[in-house]
């Protein structure tokens, strides 16, 4: 069972692409951030307008007479509406389908054919947003449709996808001693009998170890090291080599071996 819906399509070059859809949680989270930013922007705007209201009334009061307050209110509302619409349309067009909220949450709007979203699609999505927000209609649509589309997505022909692969980028450091051991492993052990998914597990362990609690880390590294030892048929781990150091060396050796082939 997969936890997240995916979306597949074929490019004109017959290449099949698969995206993980954003999911309701990410979309709600991104919207919360965007609405918080919008609220701050709109409050600042209203404060500015009210602090300059006397100047505006004295400038236009003669021409508009008694209706000046009504006019100001109408203009204020209209500009506020454009800020609300413009925020989403502007950012999604300029930042390739992302608003600040979506960028933070790492999701992105794309067109149904996988191409980047442009002004017409971003505007349509923004125009239908109030309707989707009404009584949470959009949330129901996203939850019940397989392609997780709200009304704005159906009309604009767009999808919202997750940006990152589950693995993320390798951002961990390896010890110097691992380099030397890796060279030894390359010549003495059968590194290539490791499968790509085994390598992914080792890499994941090295990436996540800093966050783990020490006891669990020791147990896990020991168990992984024993299993890897069996796979690469390397019987003796030299004295003083910790399981984590061994796993670091295996990681390096596999990477190097992969590059050589």
């Amino acid at each position: 069972m997969g936890l997240f819906n995916t979306f597949r399509f074929e490019t004109p070059e017959n290449v099949e692409l698969e995206f993980i859809l954003a999911g309701l949680g990410n979309r709600v989270y991104a919207l919360v951030i965007d609405y918080l930013i919008l609220a701050v922007v709109q409050i600042v705007y209203i404060l500015l307008i009210t602090s300059f209201s006397e100047t505006i009334v004295s400038l236009f009061g003669n021409k508009l007479g008694e209706n000046v307050a009504l006019w100001m209110f109408a203009i204020l509302t209209l500009v506020n509406f454009f800020i609300y619409m413009g925020y989403f349309a502007f950012f999604e067009t300029l930042w390739q389908g992302q608003t600040p909220g979506k960028r933070y949450v790492k999701i992105r709007v794309i067109r149904d054919d996988g191409r980047r979203v442009r002004l017409p699609q971003a505007t349509l999505r923004a125009l239908l947003r109030p309707l989707d927000d009404f009584l949470g209609l959009g949330i129901f649509c996203i939850f019940f449709s397989k392609s997780e589309k709200r009304l704005g997505d159906w009309v604009a022909g767009t999808l919202v996808i997750q940006e990152d692969s589950p693995l993320g980028t390798a951002n961990f450091s390896l010890s110097q001693a691992a380099e030397a051991l890796a060279i030894q492993l390359q010549s003495e052990a059968d590194i290539l009998s490791l499968r790509a998914e085994d390598f992914a597990v080792i890499r994941s362990y090295l990436q996540r170890r800093a966050e783990m609690n020490p006891k669990a880390r020791i147990e896990l590294s020991r168990s992984l090291a024993h299993q890897v030892q069996d796979i690469i048929t390397w019987s003796s781990i030299p004295e003083g080599v910790t399981p984590t150091l061994f796993l670091e060396a295996v990681y390096l050796a596999y990477q190097k071996q992969g590059r050589e082939f």
């Binding site: 069972m1 949680g25 990410n26 991104a30 949470g136 209609l137 597990v201």
Partner: protein
Amino acid sequence: MSSPPSSRLAVGPLSVGNVVSAALRLYKDHFKPYLGVAFRGTLWSVFPFFVSFFPLVIWAWLYQVNANLAGVFGIVAIIAWLFFWGNCIAKSLTHLAVLSRLSYQTLINQPETVKQAHQQIITKRWRFLIVQILMVVLMFAINVLLRIFLVEVPIRIFGNITSNLGGFILIGQFLSWMLYLWITSRFFIPEVPLAIENNISIINSIRRSWDLSKGFAWKIATIILVANLATLPIYILAGIPLVIGFVATVPLWTQSYDLSSLPYLGGIASLALLAAILIFVFLNILAIPFWQSLKAVIYYDLRSRKEGIGLELRDAEFK
């Protein structure tokens, strides 16, 4: 074109949004069984109140025959009912725990049926009750302490210095809310380890919630916020009859009604209130599996981060 759900199981740490999405997904994929468990769990929690009707009738009858006997019966009946009530609440809590266990087992690719999960944890039902009681007492005590130290004490101290206390009260209140939210997040999953792990004591289960969530309290708080917002629309539905009821009573309090329409308006308001309560109970049953799944996903995510569960090398071939 959209594809069927991916065969890949998302292993490893999940983001805030993905935790909520995963919980929704687990619920959606097992909608009927999960809803059935939530329904039975809710029935167990209200069952004692229906049953209490019978001893009340007997007591009323005895009271007319012999007041002393009725007194003795009353005391015995109250003790028996309290025990019965505790047992029913324990069973209700066990049903909630079953939901978390089912979700967790699905996450680790060892799915169980409702019956299997229930059999695994039904013997722990009194422990679930004690965990719940301890948590209620603990959170109440924390709330009182926060109120005393962050609101009442500063008022006494600064009250002697300045008469303008608004700012102090506001800051104190805000700090106490933030701290309460932080502590709630640390104690968000006290029953989940008990439902999943073998040979775990009550205190250790609560401690597991505290230990696992160390460094992740604000993430859990954000998850709770996003989960609340994602489920908000279904609660809005419950509010619709309330709005109708409220609108129906508008002529009453604006005093622009004629007396002949009073029963009619009152009828609409009462019906609306009844409908709102029924819808709210139904929606609550609908929401229970989501919240229990969410707890399971949080537990999975924290274990994955802190203990590296899911990091296994082709385990089947080695064993």
